[in-house]
């Protein structure tokens, strides 16, 4: 107990955000050093070997010799001395890496990798577009935007302020079901699929996750078209909220850009200080709790 008190006692309080150092603010985590959170710009959900080497070099020269991997696929370089920030940033910029993902802004966009064999629709491209348009933008509070390539939702879209999930319409083949394997029936978690007289039928409980079509190895089921489901108002942190459906089956990538634009604009307009606070503004989920989803239409 005494120990932790010691650790937290700072000579000159400098925990906070260094504003305007670069493309984005930097989170300061101690009196003498900062944590640099690096992400690739323009946004990519991968780091190239050259970028990793740049990080390695910065970590060795200016950091603690270690890198922390964050849940929003940033790489965090801890303990960069205040006097080395400029030098470290210069090296990172040279490799197409930027500090970011801190403070009240649109945090690093999160997308699934397109190489995942389960992806119903690729999301890297649209994620990059959203990042180009809205990435690092100032917001009333932090905003997380996550894209998932399928309903497995690995990138946690349901717990993001804006979560976008690729979905697809399953269609049974004209010839009917070729094998009596029942793979498709056993994977459905929503009781949405049945077999009647050798034909596969989907009912209204279907959530377009495409698990059944992906499970069919005999061409009995296919994906007839893909789109995106948009959820808003999710979060995790001091409390958990799952996002609420805002739009379903958006087929056009550009419409996704419009939707994100609209939701962010409404959020900026309507967010106010939290009750009893003189400095913290509401997160998207709180605005939605107060005004309902209609406030974002």
């Amino acid at each position: 107990m005494e120990e932790s008190r010691e650790k937290f006692t700072l000579e000159t309080p400098q925990v906070g955000i260094i504003r305007g150092v670069a493309a984005r603010d930097i989170e300061v985590v101690g009196g003498k050093s900062v944590n640099l959170r690096a992400s690739a710009r323009p946004y990519r959900n991968v780091y190239t070997a050259a970028q990793l080497r740049a990080i390695k070099s910065v970590v060795e020269k200016y950091g603690s010799g270690k890198v922390h991997l964050t849940p929003r696929h940033n790489l965090e370089i801890p303990e960069v001395g205040q006097k080395n920030i400029d030098r470290a940033l210069k090296e990172l910029y040279g490799a197409g890496l930027f500090p970011g993902g801190a403070g009240s802004s649109v945090r690093n966009i999160f997308t699934c990798p397109d190489w995942c064999s389960k992806a119903v629709r690729p999301v890297q491209e649209i994620g990059t577009m959203v990042s180009r348009n809205f990435g690092d933008m100032d917001m009333p509070n932090k905003v997380t935007i996550s894209f998932a390539g399928c309903s497995n939702a690995c990138s946690r879209p349901q717990n993001s302020d804006i979560g976008i999930i690729a979905v697809g319409k399953v269609a049974a083949s004209e010839e009917g079901c070729p094998e009596d394997c029942a793979s498709c029936l056993s994977v459905c978690r929503f009781g949405a699929i049945r077999k009647l007289d050798g034909r596969i039928m989907l009912n209204e409980k279907c959530v377009d996750c495409c698990k059944c079509a992906q499970a069919c190895a005999h061409g009995g089921l296919g994906i007839a078209g893909t789109g995106f489901r948009v959820l808003i108002g999710g979060k995790e942190g001091t409390s958990v909220r799952f996002g609420v459906k805002y739009a379903d089956f958006v087929e056009d990538d550009f419409e996704i850009l419009e939707i994100v634009d609209r939701v962010l604009n409404c959020y900026r307009e309507k967010a106010r200080l939290r009750d009893g606070s003189t400095r913290k503004k509401e997160r998207l989920a709180e605005v939605m709790g107060r005004l309902g989803i209609a406030a974002f239409m």
């Binding site: 890198v67 991997l69 849940p71 990798p113 995942c116 001091t238």
Partner: protein, 282 residues
């Protein structure tokens, strides 16, 4: 290593490898390890890596034929392949450098990772995918409450009779309470216990010692998950030390092994079989 350790890619004959480390911890790699991963990605993969939501490096597009070579190269840097399929995934923990950490969660995560890997070697796989997430404070940055098992460290704070100097460090930017639970009243500070998430940060900020940390505790949550049907975990038990939290996790995993059907996650098992197996929550 078996099929459970790799993730199928879109390209035939190519797989994605998630990289684990048995020291230091998988979400905290050394410069040397980063360099080795860069080399492997360049030589055997697509020249790029992905950082997964469970805070591990993933090297895509590795030729299956190269797996033995890659495994050897990784092993030379204390790295291994894992965290896919019906297995315990990387145990996530907060950045060790976050000042809010109430306790060293990354050390606990590393220990759990090692323990789970040992069990894997003894061929006692878990029935389903298992996410364990350890958050250093109530802000739950590593998503402890949508994980199969989650821990949140808490710090109990008290207001002492040491006189508040009205410096307002504990209420204003940048050090002030993040959830605005503190107000400065006449002569003393007042903490709104409804709002307070027990991160304990104020006790470190307050130099006269008007706010002090009394004790730590560890909330253990179970039954959460993201994915197809997201579920919020519920508070299962609160224990006074990280060691006890780890022991509790150990026995929870034993119970899960003994009772779950193939593929069932902890939340599914509770939904089907109730709370008898882990024992009622307290």
């Amino acid at each position: 290593m078996d099929a459970n350790d790799v993730t199928a890619g879109r390209a035939r004959g190519r797989v994605a490898l998630r990289v684990g480390s048995t020291g230091p911890y998988s979400s905290e790699l050394t410069a040397g390890q980063i360099g080795a991963i860069a080399d492997i990605a360049e030589r055997y993969g697509s020249g790029a890596v992905h950082v997964t939501p469970r805070q591990t490096m993933e090297i895509p597009h590795i030729d299956i034929a190269a797996l033995p070579d890659v495994t050897t190269l990784l092993a030379g840097h204390g790295l291994h392949i894992g965290y896919a399929g019906r297995r315990p995934r990387n145990v996530t923990a907060c950045s060790h450098w976050c000042l809010y950490n109430v306790a060293p969660m990354r050390d606990a995560a590393l220990q759990l990772n090692c323990l789970l890997n040992e069990n894997e070697n003894e061929k006692m796989p878990l029935p389903g995918k298992t996410n364990i997430s350890l958050s250093g404070c109530g802000f739950s940055c590593v998503r402890s409450r949508t994980s199969d098992v989650g821990v949140i460290a808490r710090s109990e704070i008290v207001i002492t009779d040491k006189k508040c100097k009205k410096c307002s460090l504990c209420v204003k930017e940048p050090l002030g309470c993040q959830v605005d639970a503190i107000t400065l009243a006449e002569g003393a500070v007042v903490i709104d216990r409804q709002k307070c998430v027990r991160c304990g940060f104020c006790s470190g900020v307050c130099r006269p010692g008007s706010i002090m940390m009394k004790s730590k505790s560890f909330d253990v949550f179970i039954g959460g998950n993201g994915g197809l049907k997201p579920r919020e975990a519920f508070l299962y038990r609160t224990v006074p030390s990280l060691r006890e939290a780890m022991e509790l996790i150990g026995s929870l995993l034993e119970g899960y092994r003994a009772h779950a059907r193939e593929g069932e996650r902890i939340g599914d098992l509770i939904e089907r079989a109730g709370m008898e197996w882990p024992g009622q929550k307290t």
